[in-house]
């Protein structure tokens, strides 16, 4: 009897091992997409050949060539359909409508701080890159195997691919609406934006009042001090150079304070990544801001929905999706355009998008479809990649595990 039991157990063990070995992830379309909840796992997955490439925001695009694990084949502005994504909106500044209603002057002031910081970044790009390197990595070094490179260098490479703009122009708003179309085709909008007209969509998404008023204050050379906000205000952001304006506003607070009378002054001056700052207008503290980083846009929107944060420096598709589901936020202005890229393994035959598509088709025909990683379902990178792939005649399916 004991022998029988051992035999049965042995068979069970063999079966389990066999099942584990043969159950690989099933890719059913021409190209498989794997969602990684942020950009963190991407370099590792690429280096261990578990994915064939990824799409990410900067500076994680540059990490691949610097670490010799991959090469950039295109930046997001050049993704097909040709011309569609040029100057595509990427990150935006969003705010909760209840705060906009209860303290509009505070929202305007934040807008002004952001605009001024963006101008600084455009005027001083290498200093901007350095500040971002400081914020993201304490200006430390990155070690990839035998290669050690300074984070400042990586950010320097990444910066030119990001366009820092704020104006919520007509063209920009139309660019946002393009995303709504793309999201609808991907069946990602099922709420208030599922079948609105363009005008209705824009009304639901945007409130450019704070931008206009902020520009007016800057033009007049004086920021109006808002009434003090009693409770701390949460400001969510992503660990990406797209949010450079926020980092610069905090790190160069003294400059902005002296030159414009508005500053985001950190409580802890020695911290590389301050998490509490005071919003000062004309030297007076009007609010305490809690800076809360997150791995990806959808996570940030979740925090906005629970009113943990009232401002978000975030990608636009997650914001659109959140508004569609009823989260009470509005998009105030742009933070940057473009600034993402597609990376593939070093030994891939692809060198640009067209050769990438050929490669994908070859692999799919051979029964070994390629796998691409994206930072989150519904993120801007996800939307753009899927749309571009489908435009190029490739079907896309999420990888089933």
């Amino acid at each position: 009897m004991k022998g029988m039991r051992l035999l049965l157990l042995g068979c069970l063990a063999v079966l389990l091992v066999a099942a584990a070995c043969t159950t690989t992830q099933q890719v059913t379309g021409d190209v498989g997409i794997l969602y990684t909840k942020g950009t963190g796992p991407m370099p590792t997955l690429l280096a261990t050949k578990q994915i064939d490439g990824y799409i990410a925001w900067q500076p994680f695009v540059e990490v691949a060539p610097v670490a010799h694990i991959g090469k950039v084949i295109t930046y997001s502005g050049e993704l097909p359909p040709a011309g569609r994504w040029q100057n595509h909106p990427c990150c935006v500044l969003a705010a909760r409508t209840d705060l906009m209603g209860s303290n509009p002057a505070l929202v305007d002031a934040m807008g002004a701080a952001t605009i001024l910081a963006t101008r600084y970044v455009n005027d001083h790009p290498s200093e901007g890159a350095e500040i971002v390197a400081d914020w993201l990595a304490g200006k430390g070094n990155f070690t990839y195997g035998n290669v050690t490179v300074s984070s400042v260098e990586v950010l320097d490479r990444a910066f030119p691919t990001v366009k820092f703009v704020n104006e919520p122009s007509e063209a920009w708003m139309n660019g946002q609406v393009e995303f709504i179309y793309a999201l609808r085709e991907l069946k990602a909008l099922t709420g208030s934006l599922s079948n609105t007209t363009d005008t209705q969509s824009k009304a639901l998404l945007f409130d450019t009042g704070p931008y206009t008023r902020a520009m007016a204050m800057i033009g007049a050379g004086k920021i109006t001090a808002p009434p003090a906000e009693r409770d701390p205000v949460g400001v969510g952001y992503l660990l990406s150079d797209h949010d450079a304006s926020l980092f610069v506003a905090v790190k160069k607070w003294q400059y902005f304070n002296d030159t414009y009378g508005i500053a985001l002054k950190p409580h802890d001056m020695t911290a590389t990544r301050p998490d509490v700052v005071d919003l000062l207008v004309n030297g007076v503290k009007v609010a305490e801001l809690k800076l809360i980083p997150a791995d990806a846009g959808p996570q940030l929107m979740q925090l906005a929905a629970t009113n943990t944060i009232q401002f978000a420096y975030v990608g636009n598709p997650p914001t659109i999706a959140a508004i569609d589901k009823g989260t009470p936020v509005k998009i105030l202005m742009a933070l940057n355009d473009e600034g993402s890229g597609v990376v593939v393994v070093t030994d891939s035959p692809a060198t640009d998008w067209d050769s990438f598509v050929r490669w994908a088709k070859e692999r799919s025909a051979a029964g070994k479809p390629i796998k691409m990683a994206a930072p989150g379902k519904g993120s801007i990178q996800d939307v753009m990649l899927r749309y571009a792939l489908e435009e190029s005649g490739l079907s896309v399916k999420e990888v089933q595990a």
Partner: protein
């Protein structure tokens, strides 16, 4: 350390690690020992702007301490009540058994919604991790009190409160202490995972995740080793108290 023999295997593992890392030659799979060791030898140096190993270890320990103390404060009285009163146990037990299998991390999103991001939600998750081992061990300890001890106390004139404080608690304390040891170990695991939730910018768990974002595997491994060392240090502390204060337990006929 209890067993000097126990040091042999880790040393062997280190040797195997270095050989394997050299031959695999892909730092994303296994960083070489010489990239990890310098990090451990410089525990006060800042890592990626997130602070040093020492600083982050202290932050994580603070959080564990807080959650652990809250768990203690609730689980021990509750456990004594459940172990002592069958009626109370019958009322509460089903709920406890329903909640117990839920991994503390699964409470993450709710924790953030209820207790706001930051230390409060993390302390909640750590509390959940430590709570059940402490509770279950307390109940077990109380239930396994020898009836004779209680009856002796009663016949000598002890009130119910005195029985609880002078007989039940001391009698159950070795088992409760084991619960504390196990609970702390789980709380320590939970803090690392809890720091992966949004709302924190420090701690060993946060550090490892941050390093992961930039593919800095050697920092991740250094972080993991630090986590392990602290874990074993505390286990050792708990055990030495056990040996000193509760030596009577094993030797009771």
């Amino acid at each position: 350390m209890r067993r000097p023999l126990g040091i042999i295997l880790p040393i062997l593992l280190l040797i195997v690690w270095e050989i394997a890392a050299q031959s695999i030659n892909n730092q994303f799979i296994l960083p070489r020992l010489e990239t990890v060791v310098p990090v451990l030898l410089a525990p006060t140096v800042d890592i990626l702007g997130t602070g040093s190993l020492v600083h982050n270890a202290l932050v994580s320990l603070e959080r564990v301490g807080a959650g652990f103390l809250v768990a203690l404060a609730i689980a021990i009285p509750l456990g004594v009540g459940m172990g002592w009163s069958q009626r109370f146990d019958a009322i509460v037990d089903t709920t406890i058994q329903l909640l117990r299998p839920i991994p503390p991390l699964a409470w993450g999103p709710l924790a953030i919604a209820w207790f706001s991001v930051g230390i409060n939600s993390m302390v909640f998750i750590i509390f959940l991790g430590a709570f059940f081992p402490i509770l279950l061990n307390t109940i077990d300890g109380v239930k396994s009190i020898k009836k004779t001890w209680v009856e002796v106390a009663q016949t000598l004139g002890a009130s119910e409160r005195q029985v609880l404080s002078k007989v039940v608690l001391p009698g159950a304390s070795p088992t409760i202490w084991t619960g504390l040891r196990v609970g702390f170990g789980i709380a320590w695991m939970c803090v690392i995972a809890a720091e992966w939730l949004p709302g924190t910018t420090s701690g060993l768990g946060y550090l490892t995740l941050y390093a992961y974002n930039f593919g800095q595997m050697h920092y991740i491994i250094a972080g993991m080793i630090t986590i392990g060392i602290i874990g074993i240090a505390f286990d050792f502390l708990f055990r030495s108290v056990e040996d000193r204060w509760f030596c009577w337990r094993g030797l009771e006929r």
